[in-house]
């Protein structure tokens, strides 16, 4: 970060700084079209913009960043486009875990959130390598949503909770201490004690590695969340600048942080109530 940016960062730090910012990096393909670039060039420009934004975030003191890299819905795109995007993702994951990368400079721990079993083996293995390689970092966190949607995340959490309750019940039953609380079998009136609560679900969300986001920034002026962090964004400021992702810069981040600071008391009060 240059001197001016550092000064701005110091000024912003006088007020509350968001703990967690999430990004929907929309507009890479439109950027490539606008600039008459080749198909994959928009995503490459988007990657550079991402690295800059992450640096600004970590310099400002934002500890957690989450990015929407690839949605489960994106698998429906043309196979050639999915293939080239996956190739780029693989390449960039390898870059991230290199010694001299931004990740090690800022002590960033990487998590990949999503249904990773949907990814091809090379990409899945690269993601696992990146998580292991950065597991010792503790200054900041980067969560990369890959093969992710909120609805899949919620379903996964529900599935895990049901499996957990079944295992608990089986363990109790085998000890003879179940009292028919979990299973209908052996229970006279057929009533099941509801035992899954919101806390259980939240424990099993992919995004449980970070607190709920304070700001979600989606570029291209689109106003949808597109199945991203829907569970976690109840009291989150939504910011939709009308620029394409590769065009995002420090001033957009500053604007988002100032907006967050302006609404801080209101959002904090809403968080307490929920």
């Amino acid at each position: 970060m240059d001197e001016d940016s550092s000064s701005i960062s110091r000024v912003l730090s006088v007020g509350p700084v968001p703990d967690h910012i999430a990004f929907i990096m929309d507009g890479n393909r439109r950027y490539a079209k606008k600039r008459n670039l080749l198909d994959g060039a928009g995503h490459r420009s988007g990657y550079l913009a991402l690295m800059n934004m992450l640096k600004y975030c970590y310099e400002l003191g934002v500890k957690y960043a989450t990015i929407y890299a690839f949605s489960i819905d994106n698998f429906r795109r043309r196979p050639e486009e999915v293939q080239s995007t996956m190739q780029l993702i693989l390449e960039k994951i390898e870059d991230l875990i290199k010694e001299e990368s931004m990740v090690n400079q800022y002590g960033v721990r990487i998590y990949f959130l999503g249904s990773l079993k949907l990814l091809s083996k090379p990409v899945r293995l690269a993601a696992e390598r990146a998580m292991v390689a950065t597991s010792g970092n503790s200054k900041s966190v980067l969560s990369i949503c890959l093969a992710y949607t909120s609805s899949d995340e919620i379903l996964h959490a529900v599935q895990e909770c049901c499996g957990e309750k079944w295992d608990e019940g089986s363990a109790l039953e085998s000890k003879g201490a179940g009292n028919g609380l979990v299973f209908l079998k052996g229970n006279e009136n057929g009533k099941i004690k509801p035992s899954i609560v919101v806390k259980d679900l939240e424990k099993h969300m992919y995004a449980a590695v970070a607190p709920d986001p304070d700001i979600i920034i989606r570029t291209s002026g689109e106003t949808r969340l597109s199945n991203f962090l829907l569970w976690q964004s109840a009291n989150c400021l939504l910011y939709a600048p009308p620029i394409l992702w590769p065009e995002i810069g420090l001033w957009h981040l500053i604007w988002a942080v100032l907006d967050f600071q302006r609404n801080f008391s209101y959002l904090k009060e809403k968080t307490k109530l929920s």
């Binding site: 949607t149 909120s150 609805s151 919620i154 379903l155 996964h156 529900v158 599935q159 909770c161 049901c162 499996g163 309750k165 079944w166 299973f183 209908l184 079998k185 099941i192 509801p194 035992s195 899954i196 609560v197 919101v198 259980d200 679900l201 106003t223 949808r224 969340l225 597109s226 199945n227 829907l230 569970w231 964004s233 109840a234 009291n235 989150c236 400021l237 939504l238 910011y239 609404n263 209101y266 959002l267 809403k270 109530l273 929920s274």
Partner: protein
């Protein structure tokens, strides 16, 4: 519509807003505020907007716009995360109750069915208008927000008819960019603008609120269909 709970206590404003929405021809509105203020006032709100009352008002005021039936749904924070927890328990009972662990993962239709069974089903809104100090959906049920367009309208006390029409019109234009012209027409029919008098009133209001170029595009779109 997401309305800040404190602002939702101003019921006269809520009535006025729903009046505008009914005028435009929207058929179905989901009213959300996190603390359930609107839910608690469900009776006076639904009484005001039953189809019988709408017809009476139209006759008394001599308004040109024909009111349509307005279906109202009342939702609060408990219909979000807690409803998903209840749905999880429902799915557990349904699929694990015989003492066998099911091998296949739950699907989205199963989840939707479970939410419906516990009384928290409902369609995903096309458009979510937020009336409050900040652009934040305040916990609107996650399962129903996946691809919804979200627009911040500002505080309820400074709401305006022009902003409402602009938001709805912008929504129809955004969707026309993504579908073919035949599908785009059906998207516009979602807000039921087939009544010529309704169209004239809305166009006059839009013109007044400085949407002239958009009015021309809208007329061209209507004429081409």
């Amino acid at each position: 519509m997401v309305i800040d709970s404190e602002e939702a206590q101003e019921l006269s404003k809520v009535f006025e807003l729903l009046q505008w929405v009914a005028d435009i021809g929207v058929k179905s509105v989901c009213l959300y505020d996190p603390e359930g203020v609107l839910k608690k006032n469900k009776e006076p709100i639904t009484q005001r907007f039953s189809s019988a009352n709408l017809s009476e008002e139209a006759a008394v005021n001599g308004r040109l716009v024909t009111r349509r039936n307005l279906t109202l749904e009342f939702v609060s924070f408990e219909d979000g995360k807690e409803a998903v927890a209840k749905a999880a328990n429902y799915l557990f009972v349904k699929h694990y109750a015989n003492g066998t662990k099911e091998k296949s993962d739950f699907t989205e239709p199963q989840m939707a069915e479970a939410l419906g069974a516990i009384g928290s089903g409902g369609a995903e809104p096309d458009l979510l208008l937020i009336y409050g100090p900040t652009r934040c959906h305040l916990g609107f049920p996650a399962w129903r927000l996946r691809y919804t367009e979200i627009v911040h309208m500002g505080p309820l006390k400074s709401m305006s008819y022009g902003s409402l029409v602009k938001a709805i019109f912008k929504y129809t234009m955004v969707h026309q960019n993504y579908v073919t012209s035949s599908c785009g027409t059906s998207m516009m029919r979602k807000i039921d603008l087939t009544d010529a008098a309704s169209i004239v009133c809305i166009l006059l209001r839009m013109f007044f609120f400085d949407c002239r170029t958009k009015v021309k595009r809208y007329l061209l779109a209507c004429m081409s269909n």
